[in-house]
């Protein structure tokens, strides 16, 4: 995000501009915060099981919100790593494994990272099956729009600590089985926003999950 800061997600060293934005964000945070859909703490065993479903959970360490998501996922037992080198992530890890196995990858990243991964995952028969767009408004509030199994998370339930809540929701899951078919998505100009993060899951898509893997 432009400010790379927000309630509870400040950098160690903030620029003056970031301090200003941080202050504004704190002041303008929604007053009527809903409690998170996933309660704190109590779900660690379930989270561990869910964590095993994701081969990898990626985040952007340059972004405070994304970093909070990633560190929470890591704390819950997920294989969370920052995306430092997208080429290497794809070439050395995801592409070879996706050719052989069906597994899911989750992340909270800026749109450009998802754009690349979605484009490259498609010919291997993998799709974006779950997606939440987090749009930051001029007043630094976040709007969350979901595409995918609604049972995974109710965007209306996301509160002030939404990156961590989302990590918990993803890792704890709805308890209703594996990723299901979802409407597809494409990162396009029309869906992007000045300050946007996207949480996503890329996986095989229902019965077609292995198509295209061999060519």
């Amino acid at each position: 995000m432009a400010a790379d800061s927000g309630p509870g997600y400040s950098e160690t060293l903030l620029s003056r501009r970031e301090v200003v934005v941080f202050g504004l964000a704190s002041l303008l945070a929604p007053v009527a915060l809903r409690s998170a859909a996933i309660p704190d703490g109590a779900s660690l065993p379930a989270a561990s099981q869910r964590a095993a479903m994701f081969h990898k959970i990626v985040y952007d360490e340059r972004d405070a919100y994304s970093r909070a998501f990633g560190l929470e996922a890591l704390a819950l037992g997920g294989a969370a790593e920052p995306v430092r080198d997208l080429t290497s992530l794809w070439l050395d890890e995801l592409a070879p494994m996706w050719r052989e196995n069906d597994f899911a990858v989750a992340g909270m990243t800026r749109p450009d990272v998802l754009f690349c991964l979605e484009q490259m995952a498609w010919p291997l028969g993998r799709r974006v099956v779950f997606r939440v767009d987090h749009h930051e408004s001029a007043s630094h509030e976040f709007e969350h729009r979901t595409t995918g199994p609604q049972s995974w998370i109710d965007p209306g339930s996301l509160g002030r600590d939404w990156p961590r809540e989302l990590a918990r929701a993803l890792l704890r899951g709805p308890g209703s089985g594996p990723v299901r078919s979802a409407s597809n998505s494409m990162v396009t100009a029309a869906t992007l926003h000045r300050n946007t993060l996207i949480s996503w899951v890329i996986a095989g898509r229902d019965a077609r999950s292995t198509r295209g893997s061999a060519g």
């Binding site: 070879p96 998505s185 396009t188």
Partner: protein
């Protein structure tokens, strides 16, 4: 269900069923969700009625299936738009140029059919990406390099047929020139092999390009006369060494003499990599510097320098030049890359320096002689494509960064070919900047440095933003179209363009009452009388749609 233009619902339904019987129902896509992936994510008309949208997509797995699909399309007069991996971003992506066409998606045809280390060639299908081939070579420990474009996620065949380019040896970085032999499915469903491939027992299909009689391969470059299902490419034996040296020039006018020296050195084969221009004084990094420039520590500009830069016109003012001379900031910087034996590349670099010393005040930075294979540490410090390694690093251009806090959401590439002279660089910049100023659209650079992907000519490549604001996109399209015209008036034409501008560019190639286009149309009418293959691609329309041409 969307239906192609001039095709009845019943015919389209029947065709879809027949497509399914050929490729399997899993590989025919008609839902909006599936077809979204075939939209052009960087469409200049994104979300507007003029955006090009597919009616369906079909993904065959073999040449025989391609033949059957083409025959079905002919039977029902359904326009089809072949794509390889569909990564032609900035030039149309995987969306059809003619809205309502069925995308013929060849990604599943991703086999590397033959690779020869002894003769340094490979034969591939359209779905093979640069990543795929690189991995294939690495896994087998072959001492071969593949020339890759930036980014390297696309198809070898798709990139070559769009006249894509890379960074290594001149005859390999011109990706179409690097090909040797094709297999093409014609519009009537027949399979043709070009060059020596026309011999049923060919032994040299990937070794001798021209075969016997007319060399027809060029007809399938940026055209719509067939569906290419196999192509051979020449590869580069891993070089003994790579050396990259930097040349720095102090004055604005130095480009004229320097480009002449550059041409002499290249045309004589003294250096064999891609020259890479930048301007420290104009705050323009070289291509290889961009990732670090954007993602590294934020580059800073002295306020005095910044103020002078702001006032400079078309990249020049006497005060700016004086500032550079006083502070030892070169006006221009250009790297030369040498591939070959270590002793030879050092000698070649010395010779290049000797020639350049004719320019007063020239300075040099000697690079390290790098001996492949690279260490992990070396890989972090180099521009990967120059070492035949595909990468996604150039997506940093458009990503959010300290230099680009509010990135656009896509871009349309403008790519005119200009003469390889210093004077042309200056004139082109004046034309670009003056035109943009008239449209009140600031260009995203202080000076457009040319790139040297091909021998003998420069290409200037710059992107126009696509945003979520339709009015802004419209304004950018208008500027784009005006630039096409003004460049043509100067004798410069685009080598490649987005599908939505292909008629605009074709309109400028008008010598002798468009005889070149009419010749292409004659071929089109002869080989694809129903006009099913990529109608309108690069301005070539089938007869029944020619009147509607823009």
């Amino acid at each position: 269900m969307r239906v192609p233009p001039n095709v009845s619902v019943s015919d389209f339904t029947a065709a879809i069923k027949e497509f399914q019987s050929v490729v399997g129902s899993d590989w025919v896509f008609t839902s909006d969700a599936d077809l979204n992936v075939y939209r052009d994510a960087y469409s200049p008309y994104l979300g507007e009625p003029e955006e090009r949208i597919a009616s369906a997509a079909v993904a065959p797995n073999t040449t025989e299936q391609v033949q059957s699909v083409v025959r079905i399309a002919n039977k029902y007069h359904i326009p089809i738009y072949p794509i390889s991996t569909g990564k032609n971003l900035g030039y149309g992506g995987s969306a059809p140029g003619y809205s309502g066409s069925v995308v013929l998606d060849l990604k599943r045809m991703n086999r590397i059919l033959e690779i020869s280390e002894r003769n340094a060639y490979v034969l591939v299908e359209p779905g093979v990406s640069y990543f795929d081939l690189y991995r294939h070579i690495q896994e087998r420990g072959l001492k071969l390099w593949v020339d890759v474009p930036d980014p390297g996620w696309g198809s070898l065949i798709g990139n070559a047929l769009e006249h894509g380019s890379g960074y290594t040896l001149p005859h390999l970085r011109n990706h179409f020139e690097a090909h040797c032999g094709m297999e093409v499915v014609l519009a009537n469903g027949e399979v043709m092999r070009t060059g020596m491939g026309a011999l049923p027992a060919a032994q040299t299909w990937q070794q001798y390009k021209s075969g016997y009689g007319p060399w027809v391969d060029g007809l399938f470059l940026q055209s719509n006369f067939g569906v290419v299902t196999k192509m051979g490419f020449w590869l580069m034996p891993e070089p003994d060494a790579v050396l990259k040296g930097q040349i720095q020039l102090p004055r604005y006018k130095d480009l004229v003499e320097f480009v002449d020296i550059l041409n002499y050195l290249e045309n004589s084969g003294v250096y064999n990599g891609t020259p890479d221009f930048g301007s420290p004084l104009l705050f323009m990094p070289q291509i290889a510097q961009w990732p670090e420039f954007i993602e590294g520590a934020a580059p800073t500009l002295d306020p005095g320098h910044a103020a002078l830069l702001q006032k400079a016109e078309f990249g020049y003012s006497p005060e700016l030049e004086a500032y550079g001379l006083k502070h030892n900031i070169p006006y221009w910087r250009c790297s030369l890359t040498f591939y070959g034996p270590a002793k030879a590349v050092l000698a070649q670099w010395e010779f290049a320096k000797e020639k350049c010393r004719a320019i007063a005040g020239v300075t040099f930075e000697d690079g390290e002689v790098v001996r492949p294979p690279l260490t992990a540490e070396q890989r972090k410090q180099i521009h990967l494509p120059e070492f035949g390694i595909p990468s996604l690093n150039n997506f940093v251009f458009g990503a959010r960064s300290k230099l680009n806090p509010h990135p656009a959401h896509g871009h349309m590439w403008f790519s005119p070919i200009i003469p390889r002279t210093g004077e042309a660089i200056y004139t082109a910049n004046k034309v670009f900047m003056q035109t943009a100023k008239e449209f009140d659209i600031p260009l995203q650079f202080s000076f457009m440095m040319p790139t040297c992907y091909w021998e003998r000519a420069f290409v200037c490549i710059f992107g126009f933003s696509i945003t979520e604001d339709a009015a802004s996109n419209k304004k950018h399209r208008e500027l784009f179209r005006e630039l096409i015209k003004r460049c043509a008036a100067h004798g410069w034409g685009e080598y490649r363009t987005s599908t939505v501008f292909q008629d605009d560019v074709a309109q400028e190639y008008s010598f002798n009452n468009y005889v070149l286009r009419r010749f292409s149309e004659s071929i089109k009418d002869a080989v694809d009388p129903n006009g099913i293959l990529s109608p309108g691609r690069y301005g070539i329309w089938p007869k029944h749609l020619r009147d509607g041409r823009k």
